[in-house]
């Protein structure tokens, strides 16, 4: 554990050390030809924010909770002001608004909608959380992820999993594997599953093409569930040995789902997500140059009409869900705004401060000379662990499309060989599980678990889990599928 922490600490230091930054700058200049664009230095607020997310809850959780918005605002300002001084206030405003309007808004509204609707569905019953029940729940959730999205499946499954395991003391590992499988890996089969795939779909990748990743997903699922079973069994035995036992005094199990009509609203949200991927390609939403039409906000920043439609549908679904569901269900579900509030605050800072890193990536993507599937898998995945996986996916899809590597999947960005596209997609989707900030549902699951008596691992603790469990699995993926 200590060794892994030291390794990660070293990586973080390397990330923010001047040498690394200078190297990045040199590469940026060489690639883009722009003079003395010190984009690398502007990544420091992003690294700073990540360190705060990682360290503050360990040092003083109460203070962190109280001053989270202030810390996020501070690092955002520390990025915006120097950026404005260097590139001009207009450019800075445009960059910030662009990420807030085009990326963050749709992202947080989708999370909010699914959080609200799933919070109105409750599972009543006395199924006892045991290794086999947990395997069953994780399997259902993983298979569901590709069809209602990783966020949808996570929000829908998180409370039943917490509830069934409420009798147990050792349950953090269950939520860690929940994040691995349901919040990330399960979403690789369709564009509904994870936003990067939706982006690919809107760029011409066929809707059902992602099903090609079924063997990779199944392999990962089987390996992870196998590991989970043994870890859970060990912890289950320890719980029993301490005299803990589930309440199974009544013969027979009664399972009752309340608020089931909310599944209609989940379907509404899923439809909204699909529309956001399909509408931009329709001529009625495009101008003469093929750009997507939208509501002008500032200079070149537009809120696209398809995004507005998506937001309206999602918010309507959330509103109807609240109006039509008994408040008692939310009470039983311990529904609070804490989790969504925490995610909304943290991710607004992450979205703003990661802009220079994404700019660097965009300018350097083509010059990285990544041509092999295994390289694409690890580079896309490694960056998706810390950055937003949607733009990361797009950068490497663009890079692969521009390389003209022969036959493959025809997209709007060029023809991409199947294996290469698989590597980009898998890397972007799977490796979001590497850190809490790799994918939004990760943070949501953590926040909901924290609120319900589960001591979740810290940022570094979680990273240790992914280094010990996920990285070896991804290495196996590389050998079996991407070499």
């Amino acid at each position: 554990m200590k060794k892994w922490m030291m390794l990660f600490g070293g990586l973080m230091m390397a990330m923010i050390s001047p040498d690394t930054v200078m190297a990045a700058e040199a590469a940026t200049e060489a690639a883009s030809g722009t003079a003395a664009v010190g984009l690398g230095w502007f990544c420091i607020p992003f690294a700073g924010l990540l360190l705060c997310v990682a360290l503050f809850p360990l040092i003083n959780p109460e203070l962190w909770e109280k001053y989270q918005p202030a810390v996020v605002a501070l690092w955002s300002v520390l990025f915006i002001i120097p950026f404005a001084m260097f590139f001009g206030a207009g450019e800075a405003a445009e960059t910030v608004l662009e990420c807030l309007v085009n990326d963050y808004l749709a992202f947080i509204v989708l999370l909010f909608g699914l959080f609200c609707v799933a919070g109105n569905i409750t599972l009543e019953g006395d199924l006892a959380g045991s290794p086999r029940i947990n395997i069953l729940l994780l399997t259902i959730g993983t298979l569901l992820s590709s069809w209602i999205g990783t966020t949808g499946a996570s929000m829908l499954m998180v409370r039943p999993v917490i509830k069934m395991n409420s009798w147990r003391k050792r349950k953090a590992h269950i939520m860690v594997f929940f994040i691995f499988l349901i919040s990330n890996i399960g979403g690789c089969l369709t564009p509904i599953g994870d936003p990067p795939l939706l982006m690919g779909f809107s760029r011409g990748v066929p809707f059902f093409w992602s099903l090609i990743q079924l063997p990779v997903m199944l392999f990962n699922m089987v390996v992870l569930l196998f590991l989970f079973y043994w870890i859970d069994r060990k912890n289950y035995r320890k719980d029993i040995a301490e005299g803990r036992k589930p309440d199974i005094s009544k013969p027979g199990t009664e399972i009752k789902l309340e608020g089931l009509h909310n599944l209609i609203f989940v379907a509404m949200i899923v439809a909204a997500v699909i529309l956001s991927g399909t509408l931009p390609s329709l001529p009625m939403f495009q101008d003469a140059t093929g750009a997507v039409l939208g509501l002008p906000i500032y200079k070149e920043v537009h809120l696209p009409y398809p995004t507005i439609i998506e937001i309206v549908i999602i918010l309507t679904a959330a509103f109807l869900s609240f109006k039509t569901t008994n408040a008692e269900i939310r009470r039983k579900n311990h529904f609070t705004w804490g989790a969504i509030r925490e995610v909304a605050i943290l991710f607004v800072g992450i979205f703003i401060t990661m802009q220079p890193a994404l700019m660097l990536l965009k300018s350097m993507g083509g010059s990285l000379h990544i041509t092999e599937p295994y390289q694409m898998f690890w580079v896309t995945g490694g960056l998706s662990s810390f950055l937003d996986n949607t733009p990361t996916y797009l950068v490497f899809l663009t890079t692969a499309g521009a390389m003209e590597l022969g036959s493959g999947i025809v997209t709007a960005l060029g023809t991409v060989p199947v294996k290469l596209l698989m590597a980009i997609s898998s890397g972007a989707v799977f490796m979001g599980a590497n850190t809490y900030i790799g994918n939004a549902p990760n943070m949501m699951v953590k926040a909901i678990s924290d609120e319900n008596g589960i001591r979740m691992p810290s940022f570094f603790g979680y990273l240790a889990w992914s280094l010990r469990i996920l990285i070896p699995v991804f290495l196996l993926d590389t050998v079996l599928f991407f070499l």
Binding site: R132, L136, R331, K332, H334, G453
Partner: protein, 351 residues
């Protein structure tokens, strides 16, 4: 109980009450931090306060309560609860790092004892407690006979497979489809005669082999056993039953991890492990089962002991037959059945 212990108990009770209040205020059904009975949780917290390297666990549990408390929607209630939380936290921080003095006494076991117990086993039990004797034994050592004779001489009930039959009733399952994993083929079974009197009769087998089931049965069992395996469902029900019984009657119980179940539930009992050298056990099995070869008997002893070691290890996390897990270990080959019973009785009744 000294001043420090009183203080710790009061603090532990305040923590338990705080958790209960948070849970009531939230109305959540997703579980709470201290989800077991009050006495057990309070005792557990006191143990954490006492142990040198465990105080962080208590603080971690407090932090979990505060995480939940912060989500209470009613501002007044939240303020009141958080204020109590802060007071408790202050008191916890003020606790000395450890009250430990290097004592070898295991608190979890010692709390079952009256002060003079170390001399007199029977005095472990207060007037409100029932005499419960848990006997673990290796296969073929005569443990069942010793247990049965002991129960008979003390005029108390003897339980072995009867526990399992009662659990089956609770689970509304059919006995012939579940194997009693905790049992040896016990030679005795309690039956009720026509006149209503109960007596023990000799029998060869106490359980039947598990049958293979189809998908429909698997679904039915999934529902019946709350998604647990049959073995776990039986164990959990058995635990409840043993605890319930210990509140109502005196008895001798054979195996079934009863010693650990009762220890975990802070119920006074006497735990005994009976064994004998393997060669002597093999000879005895051959004597009882006429026609059984030495090879078969040896295999049976090995198989049965292995099965029980596995079962005990799985549910208790402890080593089966390890002397430090019991109050008394007896080599039955040194005393014989009557002698072993006499030894146990003498230990219990010694003035």
């Amino acid at each position: 109980m000294n001043h420090n212990e009183e203080m710790m108990r009061e603090l532990a009770e305040r923590i338990y009450d705080l958790d209960a209040e948070v849970y009531i205020q939230l109305g959540s059904s997703l579980g709470r931090v201290f989800d077991r009975d009050r006495e057990r949780c309070v005792t557990e917290m006191m143990r954490l306060m006492l142990e040198r390297d465990q105080s962080h666990v208590l603080r971690s549990q407090l932090a979990l309560i505060s995480n939940m408390a912060r989500t209470i929607s009613d501002r007044e209630s939240r303020k009141m609860i958080m204020s109590e939380y802060n007071n408790i936290l202050h008191d916890v921080i003020e606790l000395p790092t450890s009250f430990g003095t290097g004592e070898i006494l295991d608190q979890s076991r010692a709390e079952l004892l009256e002060p003079n117990l170390k001399k007199h086993l029977k005095e472990r039990f207060s007037n409100q407690d029932h005499l419960v004797i848990c006997i673990g034994r290796t296969y073929g050592c005569g443990g069942s006979e010793i247990g049965f004779t002991l129960a008979d001489s003390l005029k108390i009930n003897y339980y072995d497979v009867e526990i399992f039959s009662e659990v089956i009733k609770r689970l509304e399952a059919e006995q012939d489809v579940i194997e009693d994993k905790a049992a040896f083929p016990s030679p005795y079974k309690k039956i009720t005669g026509k006149d209503g009197t109960e007596e023990y009769v000799y029998q060869q087998r106490a359980f039947v082999p598990e049958q293979k089931n189809g998908i429909r049965t698997a679904f039915r069992n999934f529902n019946r056993y709350h998604g647990l395996s049959k073995r776990d469902a039986v164990y959990f029900n058995q635990s409840d039953l043993i605890c319930d019984m210990s509140k109502n009657e005196d008895f001798v119980i054979m195996g079934r991890c009863a010693d650990l179940i009762l220890t975990n539930n802070h119920i006074p009992h006497i735990s005994i492990f009976i064994t004998a050298p393997v060669e002597r056990r093999i000879r005895r099995i051959m004597e009882i089962n006429k026609g059984m070869s030495e090879k078969e008997a040896r295999r049976l002893v090995k198989k049965m002991d292995h099965k029980h070691r596995k079962y005990y290890g799985f549910y208790t996390g402890s080593k089966w037959g390890m002397p430090c897990n019991y109050d008394l270990c007896i080599n039955s080959s040194s005393y014989g059945i009557e002698g072993s019973v006499e030894l146990i009785r003498r230990m219990m009744e010694q003035e």
